[in-house]
């Protein structure tokens, strides 16, 4: 049963479409979202082998405008947004002054004076307040989450399906790039991004057209086996692909260096929120390390289970689940850096028993090239 009052729960413009499809709904960060339609395994498989369509309209959008837009983005995020070309996106972290995550996000450069940030649903108000509080540059930040619906079409058939509905040559949009164009006659921001480890696109548009685009995409992809997919499959897909989830691998107690995200930590770009802490960690000692692991028997490690090294607790599982693509049980966990060697044997405490596991590379799954 939900603990939040029913009146507080938020709904995307596709809520009734999900219910018509018989989706099992779940409260995700205060949003009433589809967990699964036909089942997590079949939806996961569709994305890996054909294509899946996700309603991710709960994701937040924050837009930064003005001549100081870049300065503000550079100050509050750890990646180097000055390297972005117009029409390019980057994965980044919104930092506290301790170099930990307020949130993780995608930064899209729309023009020299306009950036669109895509942030986590549950964090969008906090992110916006944080950005406002640190805007000493005179940029204009606006929380525009309610002006966008977002759909993700992901999988090896995604490009061909989407191409049927748009005149934009999708081959011209490279990975982590975007453009504006019509999909089914509706103006969209079309980005070649995703959270599944597969090729695919995320499109942002006026919520008034949500039902139309949802239905048109499902129709256009029916012959290819495109099916609607929920947050359950989204989680197993991103876990296999080694992507972090806020509240699990990363949070306000975690730095990007600890999370293995040194590649989004551009200490050479000049000072930013938390950069001193990050520089110090990098120079001296990163206190813990995010690792991947696989279970060596049939038991399944779950979020928050203790990790045992030489019999004593040395960390916690951040995400753990069966991997439908790899047919084994996998996860990610924090361990002391000296214990994080690839191939090392660890154990996960499952209902009081030590279950053996082995440290493996992140990501666990890479799509065939």
């Amino acid at each position: 049963m939900t603990t939040q009052a029913a009146t507080e729960i938020r709904k995307t413009a596709l809520n009734s479409a999900h219910r018509r499809l018989g989706a099992k709904m779940v409260n995700f960060g205060g949003w009433d979202m589809p967990l699964e339609y036909t089942g997590i395994l079949s939806e996961h498989d569709a994305v890996r082998t054909r294509a899946g369509l996700f309603d991710v309209s709960h994701m937040g959008e924050i837009e930064i405008r003005g001549s100081a837009a870049l300065e503000l983005v550079q100050w509050v995020t750890c990646n180097d947004a000055s390297k972005l070309a117009i029409g390019q996106a980057q994965y980044s972290g919104l930092m506290t002054d301790a170099g930990t995550f307020v949130d993780d996000l995608l930064v899209h450069k729309i023009s020299d004076t306009h950036y669109l940030l895509c942030v986590n649903a549950a964090n969008q108000e906090g992110d916006f307040d944080h950005i406002l509080a640190h805007d000493r540059f005179g940029a204009k930040a606006e929380n525009t989450g309610s002006r966008y619906s977002q759909l993700a079409i992901q999988g090896p058939r995604a490009k061909d399906i989407l191409q049927r509905l748009t005149p934009v040559p999708l081959d011209s949009i490279r990975y982590y790039h975007f453009t504006f164009g019509d999909v089914s006659g509706v103006r969209c921001l079309i980005a070649r991004t995703g959270y599944t480890g597969e090729d695919g696109f995320e499109i942002y548009f006026d919520p008034a057209f949500s039902e139309k685009l949802w239905a048109d995409l499902l129709n256009a992809g029916e012959q290819d086996g495109l099916i609607p997919c929920g947050l359950g499959a989204r989680n197993t897909l991103r876990l296999e692909a080694g992507m972090c989830l806020y509240g699990h691998e990363i949070d306000a107690q975690t730095t990007p260096l600890e999370a293995g995200l040194g590649w989004i930590c551009k200490l050479g770009k000049g000072a930013f929120l938390g950069s001193e802490v990050l520089a110090d960690q990098k120079k001296n000692r990163i206190p813990r390390k995010l690792v991947g692991f696989e279970m060596l028997d049939k038991r399944i490690a779950r979020d928050c289970y203790p990790v045992l090294i030489d019999g004593s607790e040395a960390g916690r599982v951040t995400s753990g689940a069966p991997s439908p693509s790899l047919k084994k049980n996998i996860g990610m966990a924090y361990v002391p850096p000296e214990s994080g060697t690839l191939g090392a044997e660890i154990a996960v405490s499952i209902r009081g028993q030590a279950a053996p596991a082995r440290i493996t590379p992140i990501p666990a799954y890479k799509r065939p090239q």
Partner: protein, 132 residues
């Protein structure tokens, strides 16, 4: 949907008693709530179960669910089919995917459990709470 000769618990287990031996499983409602089942952990033959106590787990892709014993008694048999085919719980929860057979310590223990009609009503109310 729910066999008339079974009894049901509020934790969504079923039990069918035949000559003092109870066959125990989880209900269709429970499997539907869990989603795709991928792993089942059962007690050993000979284990003593106690009413209302957890005796194993059923895990789906998304969640872990403990199974509570509807009765006290000794485990006579476990369903080895579920080791390699846990997904049977989704396709045949009231039949092939039974979990354990138990020798009842006290056959009267099933008397307070719900019958099929009462359980049907119980799950319908649960479903309403969910959609509210």
């Amino acid at each position: 949907m729910y066999p008339a000769d079974y009894r049901y618990t509020e934790e969504h287990e079923w039990i069918k008693v035949d000559s003092g031996v109870g066959t125990v499983g989880i209900t269709d409602y429970a499997q539907n709530e869990l989603g795709d089942v991928v792993f089942v952990e059962l007690p050993k033959v000979g284990a003593q179960l106690k009413t209302g106590q957890s005796f194993g787990t059923v895990e789906s892709v998304k969640a872990v669910s403990e199974i509570f014993s509807p009765v006290s008694g000794e485990v006579l048999e476990i369903n080895s089919l579920l080791v390699d085919s846990p997904e049977k719980i989704n396709s045949d929860p009231h039949g092939a995917a039974w979990l354990v057979k138990v020798k009842l310590a006290d056959p009267r223990e099933i008397d307070p459990l719900m019958d099929a009609a009462a359980y049907q009503k119980f799950t319908a109310e649960k479903a309403q709470e969910h959609s509210a």
